[in-house]
C-alpha cells in the first residue's frame, strides 16, 4: 500500500519580480527641511533671499493653491504645493504623478528657516512661495 503524501499548502504568496520593481524605487534625498515645487527639476524658478525670508517665483497656471508643511518625522519637514481641494498640481511634461517626487524642483532649506510658516499664492500666472526665516535676536 502507498500512503497519500499530500503536501502542505499555505504560506505567503511571493512577490514576482514585476511587483518587486514597483517596490524598489529611485527616491530623492531626505533632508531636514526641503521645499518641493510642482515643476520639473530643470525649470527656471527665481530664488530670492532676504534677511526675513526665502521667496520662490515661477510661471504657473495652477489656479488656487496652498502650501502644506508635511512633518515626515519630528525634525524632518517637507513643503509641497497642493490645489485648494488638496489634489496635486499637474507638473508640466509629466504624464503621471510619481509619488516619490523624483525629478521635481526641490530646494534644501537652510537650518535658519521656518518651513511650517510657509505661504503660497498664485497670482497673475505666477506662483509665489514664501518661507520665513527664524527671527534672530539681533533684529
Amino acid at each position: 500500500m502507498f500512503a497519500k503524501k499530500r503536501s502542505q499548502h499555505g504560506g505567503v504568496v511571493s512577490s514576482m519580480p514585476s511587483s518587486n520593481a514597483k517596490k524598489l524605487l529611485r527616491l530623492p534625498h531626505v533632508f531636514a527641511k526641503i521645499l518641493e515645487l510642482p515643476f520639473p527639476s530643470d525649470d527656471d524658478v527665481l530664488v530670492e533671499e532676504t534677511p526675513q525670508f526665502f521667496r520662490f517665483v515661477a510661471s504657473c497656471n495652477a489656479g488656487g493653491v496652498r502650501a502644506l508643511a508635511i512633518e515626515i518625522l519630528p525634525g524632518i519637514t517637507k513643503i509641497v504645493i497642493k490645489r485648494m481641494d488638496g489634489g496635486d498640481v499637474a507638473v508640466a511634461g509629466r504624464h503621471q504623478q510619481v509619488p516619490s517626487g523624483f525629478g521635481l524642483w526641490r530646494f534644501r532649506l537652510p537650518p535658519g528657516t521656518q518651513p511650517e510658516m510657509v505661504t503660497a499664492v498664485s497670482i497673475g500666472g505666477k506662483l509665489v512661495v514664501t518661507v520665513p526665516k527664524i527671527k534672530s535676536r539681533a533684529n
Binding site: 497519500k4 499548502h9 511571493s14 519580480p17 524598489l24 534625498h29 527665481l46 515626515i72 534644501r108
Partner: protein
C-alpha cells in the same frame, strides 16, 4: 550630490541642444529689496588650471542624469581615452549648503586613495555655468538596474556584491570618510559582463569624520537611512546599516523597510522589524540571514563594523553559497523535462486528465487565456504574450526552451495536453495517488505490471506510430530489475527521477504557481468561486 549616473545610454545630444539658456531675470514685482546680484558663484576654491574643459577633452553624448548633474561621455584629446564628465549646473546649487557639498565631494574624492571599487576623479574644471568633474568611465550600468532586471540575486552573486560594498565602506572609514548615501543607484559596473568590477560613484553627501565624532545633520535616501540618522545622532556606523539594506534587497528584491510614503518608510526604519518570512527568505541560508541581521542591528554600538562584515563566515565561504537564483529553477526543470522519456511525458498527461476539477481549472484557464485565437493550440507568440500577461518573468530564451521541450510531437505548437504536462512537471508533483491512477491507466489488464504490449498501445495512441527502438529504450531505462515489464515501484521511481531537488525548490514552485494564479485572477481571466479562490490549488 544627488544621483549621477555615468552610464545609462540615451540618444546622442547634438551640441546645439546644449546651448546656453539665456533667459534674463525678469524684474520681480514682489521684491521688497534688491535682488541679489547675478554674479556667478565660485565653487572650487583652488582650481589648479585656468584652462577650460574643452581645451583638453571633447565632450560627447549624454550618458545619464541625476538629481544634480548630467554625465557626458568625454574623450581626452591627446590620449583618446574615454572618460565620464559629470557637469553640475550652478543653477542647481541653490544654497550655500549645496555649494559646500560639491566642494567637499571634490575634496573627498581627491583625498581617498586609489581603489579598484571607487571611481577615480581625474580632473576638475569650473566655468561660469558649471562645475565639471572628469572621472573614469563605467560602462556597465547601475547596480540598481541589474537588481530590478533580475528580481534578486543568488547567494553567491549577492555575496560578491556585498563584499565589494563592505570593502568600500571599510576603506572610506579607514580614511576618515563617512559616505552617508550608499544605495544601489550609487554603484556602477565597469563593464557589461556579469562578473564586472563594481565601483562607488557618488560622494555628494559624504563627510570627513574623526573617531568618536557625532553628527546630527539629516541626509540620506529613503529605504537606506539608518535609524540613528533619523534620531539626529550618528557616526560612521550608518554606512554599515545602508550596506545591510542593500544586501537584503540583493537577496530578495525589495527593501526591508518599505511603505507608500516617506513618513511610512521612516517609521518602518525606526521600528526596525525585518521580514524573513516572505519569499524567498525561507530558502536563504541561515548564515546570510545572520549577516543581514547583524548589519541591520538597531543599536549602532552592537552593529558589525565593515571589517567584521568582511570577516563574516557567509562572505568568507561565498563560493559554497548557492549559485542557483530561484528563477533558475524553472530553467532547470525545463531541461529535465526535455530529457524525459515519452512514457513519463504521456503519464503526465494521464495524470492531468485525473486532476480534480479545482486542480485543473487554473491550468485550463491559463491555456484558454493564452490561446487567443481559440483554435485549441498555443503558438510561440501566444505563449510569450500569455506568460507576460500572467506576470511571468521568464526571459525569451527560457520561453523558447519551454516551447521546445513542451512540444512533444514537435509540430511547433502546444496542444492542451502538452501544456498541462509541462505545467504539472514545473509544479513538481507530490501526490502518490496520481501515480497510482496513471499506472492503472497503462496497466490495461490489471496485472500489476506494464507489459511491452501495453506500453506500445499507450504510446501508439498518441503519436500514430511508435518506433520499436523507442519502446525498447524506455523499457531498458525504466525496467530496472530487467524482468521485461514495469512494476509500480519502477514506474514511481521513473516519475520521481529528477525530483531530487532540495526542499526549497518545491516550496518555491508552489508559491510561483500560486503567484501566477493570483495574477490570473487579478487579470480577470479566472472566474473562480469564492470557496475555491482561497485555496491553494497545486497538485
Amino acid at each position: 550630490m544627488g544621483n549621477c549616473n555615468a552610464c545609462v545610454r540615451v540618444d546622442d545630444v547634438a551640441d546645439s541642444n546644449r546651448g546656453k539658456k539665456n533667459k534674463k531675470t525678469k524684474p520681480n514685482p514682489y521684491a521688497e529689496e534688491e535682488i541679489r546680484s547675478g554674479v556667478p558663484i565660485r565653487v572650487l576654491k583652488d582650481v589648479t588650471s585656468r584652462s577650460l574643459i574643452g581645451d583638453k577633452y571633447v565632450i560627447g553624448r549624454e550618458l545619464g542624469r541625476g538629481e544634480f548633474g548630467i554625465t557626458y561621455l568625454c574623450t581626452d584629446r591627446e590620449t583618446k581615452q574615454e572618460l565620464a564628465c559629470k557637469s553640475i549646473s550652478k543653477r542647481k546649487l541653490r544654497t550655500a549648503i549645496d555649494v559646500e557639498d560639491v566642494r567637499r565631494e571634490v575634496a573627498i574624492m581627491s583625498t581617498l586613495p586609489e581603489h579598484a571599487n571607487v571611481v577615480k576623479l581625474k580632473a576638475t574644471y569650473e566655468d561660469e555655468e558649471n562645475v565639471h568633474l572628469v572621472m573614469e568611465l563605467c560602462a556597465g550600468g547601475e547596480l540598481f538596474d541589474r537588481i530590478v532586471a533580475r528580481g534578486h540575486y543568488s547567494e553567491r552573486a549577492a555575496a560578491n556584491v556585498a563584499r565589494t560594498i563592505a570593502e568600500v565602506v571599510r576603506m572610506c572609514h579607514a580614511n576618515g570618510v563617512m559616505h552617508r548615501d550608499l544605495k544601489p543607484e550609487n554603484f556602477l559596473f565597469a563593464n557589461k559582463k556579469e562578473n564586472s568590477v563594481l565601483k562607488a560613484i557618488d560622494f555628494g553627501l559624504s563627510v570627513f569624520f574623526k573617531p568618536g565624532e557625532r553628527f546630527s545633520e539629516i541626509v540620506g535616501s529613503p529605504y537606506y537611512m539608518a535609524p540613528e540618522v533619523l534620531k539626529r545622532n550618528y557616526g560612521p556606523e550608518v554606512d554599515v546599516w545602508s550596506a545591510g539594506v542593500i544586501l537584503y534587497i540583493l537577496l530578495c528584491g525589495v527593501p526591508p523597510f518599505w511603505a507608500e510614503d516617506e513618513r511610512g518608510v521612516a517609521l518602518a526604519i525606526l521600528r526596525g522589524v525585518i521580514d524573513f518570512k516572505r519569499e524567498p527568505w525561507p530558502q536563504i541560508s541561515d548564515s546570510a540571514k545572520s549577516l543581514v541581521r547583524q548589519m541591520l542591528e538597531h543599536d549602532p554600538k552592537k552593529r558589525l563594523t565593515a571589517e567584521q562584515v568582511l570577516e563574516h563566515s557567509w562572505l568568507q565561504n561565498a563560493k559554497k553559497a548557492s549559485n542557483v537564483p530561484l528563477g533558475d529553477i524553472v530553467r532547470t526543470r525545463l531541461r529535465q523535462f526535455s530529457l524525459m522519456n515519452r512514457l513519463k511525458k504521456r503519464a503526465l498527461r494521464v495524470i492531468a486528465e485525473h486532476l480534480s476539477v479545482e486542480e485543473v481549472e487554473i491550468i485550463k484557464d491559463m491555456f484558454t487565456l493564452m490561446d487567443t485565437n481559440k483554435d485549441g493550440k498555443v503558438t510561440y507568440e501566444e505563449l510569450k504574450v500569455g506568460l507576460r500577461k500572467v506576470g511571468s518573468q521568464l526571459a525569451e530564451p527560457e520561453i523558447k526552451m519551454l516551447m521546445e521541450v513542451a512540444d512533444v510531437d514537435g509540430n511547433g505548437v502546444l496542444d492542451y495536453g502538452e501544456f498541462v504536462a509541462v505545467t504539472i512537471h514545473l509544479q513538481r508533483m507530490e501526490n502518490d495517488e496520481h501515480f497510482r491512477k496513471a499506472f492503472m491507466y497503462f496497466d490495461k489488464d490489471g496485472s500489476g505490471y506494464i507489459e511491452l504490449g501495453e506500453l506500445e498501445k499507450a504510446l501508439t495512441d498518441e503519436s500514430g506510430d511508435t518506433d520499436t527502438a523507442v519502446l525498447n529504450d524506455i523499457m531498458r531505462e525504466v525496467d530496472t530489475d530487467r524482468d521485461g515489464r514495469i512494476s509500480y515501484e519502477e514506474f514511481v521511481a521513473m516519475m520521481k527521477t529528477g525530483t531530487d531537488w532540495r526542499k526549497a525548490s518545491r516550496q518555491y514552485s508552489r508559491e510561483r504557481f500560486k503567484s501566477l494564479s493570483i495574477n490570473l485572477m487579478k487579470d480577470g481571466s479566472l472566474q473562480l468561486h469564492d470557496d475555491i479562490s482561497g485555496q491553494a490549488v497545486v497538485v
